[in-house]
């Protein structure tokens, strides 16, 4: 058996400048979310917009802070598609019904 330990990256890619930019982008997105809370959007639309922004934020955190962007494709394929698939499965059971409840109101 060959030793694969050497294959593990000793250094971490990314620079302080890059991390600062990511942090700044995350702060801006947070500010946008808080601003939107006072724009009185319809609840369903608001949740969809917020979740969209939050998915972008978590993508930034996972890609840069958690270094997923610099890992092997295999690791990404184990984590992200699995998560998306399982979350869709949970959503499929719940959401149509809760949205139907909203529309039942006069």
């Amino acid at each position: 058996m060959t030793h694969r330990t050497e294959a593990v990256e000793a250094s971490v890619p990314g620079t302080t400048r890059l991390f600062l930019w990511v942090w700044f982008a995350l702060l801006i997105l947070t500010a946008v979310e808080t601003f939107l809370a006072y724009e009185e959007l319809a609840l369903l639309l608001f949740i969809i917009v917020l979740m969209g922004i939050s998915v972008v934020k978590s993508a930034l955190i996972m890609s840069y802070f958690m270094h997923l962007r610099f890992e092997r494709l295999g690791l990404f394929l184990i984590i992200v598609p699995t998560l998306v698939f399982l979350i869709c499965l949970i959503l499929i059971f719940l959401y149509p019904d809760s949205i139907r409840l909203l529309e039942l109101r006069p």
């Binding site: 058996m1 060959t2 030793h3 694969r4 330990t5 294959a7 593990v8 990256e9 000793a10 250094s11 971490v12 990314g14 302080t16 991390f19 600062l20 942090w23 995350l26 702060l27 947070t30 979310e33 808080t34 939107l36 809370a37 006072y38 609840l43 369903l44 608001f46 949740i47 917020l50 979740m51 922004i53 939050s54 934020k57 978590s58 955190i61 996972m62 840069y64 802070f65 958690m66 270094h67 890992e71 092997r72 295999g74 690791l75 184990i78 984590i79 699995t82 998560l83 399982l86 979350i87 949970i90 959503l91 719940l94 959401y95 019904d97 809760s98 949205i99 409840l101 909203l102 109101r105």
Partner: protein, 200 residues
């Protein structure tokens, strides 16, 4: 390249892979809770909207900024650890822990305000829909537990890494956990606070 049973599947350390798999399962725990909560929230037009701009929303936004900043110091700490700058790495980890403690302190002050002044419990509140308290304390409580465990975990890692017992990979693995705690808050903050801001 095929993996032949060595210590580095997918060219990552086995500890790192283990942490990723744990985080995968933990994110499903949070997803189930958040989706369950959102379901009830969407289906309940008279859901309480008690969060005034000040203090609740200002505090929650500040907590978000603190958590994001602690993630930044953590990633810089991991970076320093990999460059064998041990003292710098430990300092960054201590800053990260400070962020976690600040987060907890602000959050607990908010809990105390809700419990003592607004009389919210997990089973009742003055605004109707008793589930509000259960959802709020359940979700934010589980997250706060993660932050608290994260602070302890980082403390152990900082101590061990400073003494040369732990490797840079150990710091990186603890960093993954910390970023995950940050990531979960990015969903709790809008779903718990922002969709329940007090109407004008």
């Amino acid at each position: 390249m095929t993996w032949e049973g060595g210590p580095s599947p997918l060219a990552v350390d086995k500890k790192k892979l283990g942490m990723w798999l744990f985080l995968l399962s933990d994110s499903l725990t949070f997803s189930a809770l958040l989706i369950g909560y959102s379901y009830v929230r969407l289906g309940t037009p008279q859901w309480p909207r008690p969060f005034e701009f000040y203090p609740a929303i200002v505090k929650a936004t500040l907590m978000t900024v603190i958590l994001l900043t602690s993630s930044l110091t953590m990633v810089l700490g991991v970076h320093a650890a990999h460059q064998e700058k041990r003292r710098l790495a430990v300092r960054y980890i201590l800053l990260t822990m400070l962020g976690g403690v600040l987060f907890d302190v602000i959050h607990i002050s908010e809990w105390i305000h809700l419990i003592l002044n607004e009389h919210v419990t997990p089973f009742a509140n003055p605004w109707g829909t008793p589930l509000f308290g259960g959802a709020f304390f359940g979700l934010t409580g589980l997250h706060m537990l993660h932050v608290t465990i994260g602070v302890l975990y980082l403390g152990i890692v900082a101590l061990g890494f400073g003494r040369g017992k732990f490797s840079p990979v150990d710091v990186e693995v603890s960093g993954l956990y910390w970023h995950f705690v940050d990531l979960v808050w990015m969903f709790i903050f809008p779903l718990i606070y922002l969709i329940n801001v007090a109407p004008k």
